[in-house]
Symmetry: C2
Subunit: 235 residues, 2 copies
């Protein structure tokens, strides 16, 4: 099987491609030998939170630009990189986004009743006006067919989600907090922020210095839900 | 503004919530002081690749289970955790998945013409039969309304993508390789793998020891595409 794999390499003609020395004990990190990186990654994964409380401490453009390097290393289907980012500091724009959020929140509240509704109404669900930086991340469909999207066209949007997830981790590792506000209407966001033709907003992200240390998901702390064991089937 | 934020905390009633000591220089990692974690994270982000070439070296169940802990720390809209995982080692099942892949690949090939088609036909796009472990990751919609999904229902599927992305990084940090095969038909996957009612496959992931050291995306090495600078607007 290895011979078959190696044979495939010449077909691909990759300049950097070459057989690796992998093959040690699984989990030993034999390929790169970065056990410390593994531990560090898990510290970042475990401390990442969906923040909605921010300090007014500024976040410089250089920091934002550095975090956005996450897009440069993000996976994308067919290497299509189907994304666009708008960095929003402007107060008036954030107020418009916040107004849109309030409308969606009011509509969503009606989906819950009784004690659940009471709890919902008490929740803090965004930090649009508090966070010094907002990020509108949009899906920007490439022209022409994209490798890998024929049976799952949504893989294009999924690429944007992967990039946002890496950005989230990068912010966490810098000691910053990020929050993904999904209670925004893409059409409203498109009106609040000038976007390239064809771009569709997928997320409004709040970025700043977190005002709270959260040792678990905020929605768990407040009793909205609990983390459950993963459902896994083995076959 | 800080007072306002702190006032919000009592409303939330979070047991673990408390003001942080954050407020130092942005990017200094003042909140957690883990500059080393930041560097380690970026090493993992920069070395993550979409692998399609695998060694036959086994990957034990314990390793798979450890990597799947990524789901336990993944973000999900409204803490809904709308996911299900099937770990596939069975050869017959993988052959069925591979047969489905071949059909989709043949259909996709027709979307490209000329030199592009020739190059497409030469590409290795999956490692379904080579990788010792396959993972079918499905979206499992929760019953009832989910907080945060009213204006962007797809946020539920996006949660699954975020979890897959974390899993990808965890595999990378262990020296393993993962490949996301999007050229699979969800309906075909549902037929190949028993799934809970309502579950819809979103990804077939190949997991194993990578046979190639890839210093850049494989699709860039073979000339299919190139990484571009991120399009960012600042306002």
């Amino acid at each position: 099987m290895v011979a078959e794999v190696r044979a495939g390499v010449s077909v691909l003609g990759g300049s950097s491609a070459g057989g690796s020395a992998a093959g040690g004990e699984p989990g030993s990190g034999s390929r790169r030998g970065h056990d410390d990186d593994n531990a560090a990654l898990w510290r970042v994964l475990r401390t990442r939170r969906d923040h909605r409380h921010f300090l007014p401490t500024p976040v410089p453009d250089e920091t934002v630009a550095r975090l956005l390097d996450a897009f440069a290393v993000a996976p994308s289907v067919g290497l299509s990189q189907p994304w666009h980012v708008t960095v929003v500091r402007d107060r008036a724009v954030r107020e418009s986004v916040h107004a849109g959020f309030r409308q969606v929140r009011a509509a969503e509240a009606d989906r819950f009743t009784g004690e659940r509704r009471t709890l919902y109404d008490s929740l803090r669900l965004e930090g649009i006006l508090q966070a010094p930086v907002g990020l509108v991340v949009s899906h920007l469909p490439p022209g022409g067919p994209v490798l890998g999207t024929t049976s799952m066209p949504a893989a294009s949007e999924y690429s944007v989600v992967s990039a946002i997830t890496l950005l989230w981790l990068a912010a966490t590792a810098e000691g910053l907090g990020m929050g993904w506000v999904s209670l925004v209407d893409p059409a409203h966001l498109s009106g609040a922020v000038p976007l390239p033709p064809g771009a569709r907003p997928m997320a409004y992200l709040c970025l700043g210095h977190p005002a709270l240390d959260l040792n678990e998901p905020l929605l768990q702390s407040v009793g909205w839900g609990r983390r459950r064991p993963l459902a896994v089937d083995w076959m």
